[in-house]
Symmetry: C2
Subunit: 193 residues, 2 copies
Amino acid sequence: MPRDGRIVRGRLEQAALDLFAEHGFDGTTTEQIAARAGVTERTYFRHFPDKREVLFASEEELREVTVAAIESIPAGVEPLEALHQAFHDVVPLLVRNRQLAALRAPIIMAAPALREREHAKTAALIDLVQEALVKRNIDERSALLCARVGMGVFSTAIRRWATGSATDLHDEVDGAFADLATMAASLDERRPA
Amino acid sequence: MPRDGRIVRGRLEQAALDLFAEHGFDGTTTEQIAARAGVTERTYFRHFPDKREVLFASEEELREVTVAAIESIPAGVEPLEALHQAFHDVVPLLVRNRQLAALRAPIIMAAPALREREHAKTAALIDLVQEALVKRNIDERSALLCARVGMGVFSTAIRRWATGSATDLHDEVDGAFADLATMAASLDERRPA
DNA sequence: GTCTATATCGCGATAGAC
DNA sequence: GTCTATCGCGATATAGAC
């Protein structure tokens, strides 16, 4: 069996994807995943801290690319607009991973435990986005608001793109930000009783 | 021991709060929680589906109050402004629970498993808010965006209120929505290259 | 209520890769 | 030979089945 960790890791990911798709998350044991990848259960846990994480290895790249995209936006751009522009730079990665995402989505949807992990990943990404904004000299409070709102808009665009018919993700991003602008513009100024 | 399920439930919640605070989430077993509440471990699992859920029983009320608040806003109000106004109606509940929230927060922060559960609860609430907006005849796509953005703003206000010095939560809500309006107003119209 | 499956992790031994 | 990935065994606690 291969001694190269990266190969074993990839085989574990593929094995988990197959088994989860076939028997569901709860219907699959870590032992089965390890066996299909040709290693022992103990080895599985040296690569992934728990049973869920094997499905989220690809998120790593998303985080790196997103942070890098924000950092590449010129300093003068207003924070929310900076996110808007940065998200366009993330689009190619998502387009490239669309096939894999389509395989993962139904698996994750079907298992509450996996949905929890996904939400945690999203929250972690929001934190990273906030940090990236703070580095742009946005104060921490505004950065948090901006990161949450911006990521909310982005996720909505992604969802529309992934579930809808063949649209362009760039267009969905612009559309979602335009929707936000419209919604926010109609906010009342007066404090309600 | 009391036969009344609600009493046992409350004692389990209190026991868990105490033990988690003292030994941390990972350092506490469900057996210990049950023992301190004067019941068997089996009884614990009849009240709560897993070890984490005992800390989130109070979220139930938040969901009900939030949905009711949205439903009570007049039909003509624009969706995001409707959320803004509805959130003010949720404030009293949060103020009343502030003490408990202050005890729970550090426990949840310290345990990744609990943070995951909290994010899942937030996501579930966003779904409920979206549903409530759909009932106001907002189309599903806009409702999702509005729910995500609105809840993002609201959580930010709550965070500012909970972590900052003695401010009024109403003011934080208004402030966060005002910040959103400012940010969104500066969004560029043109599509970036 | 009891019993059991299985996720998770510690430890020492082993065996490819360089 | 030195690493480091993997193995083999064992222990514990959650969670669900009977």
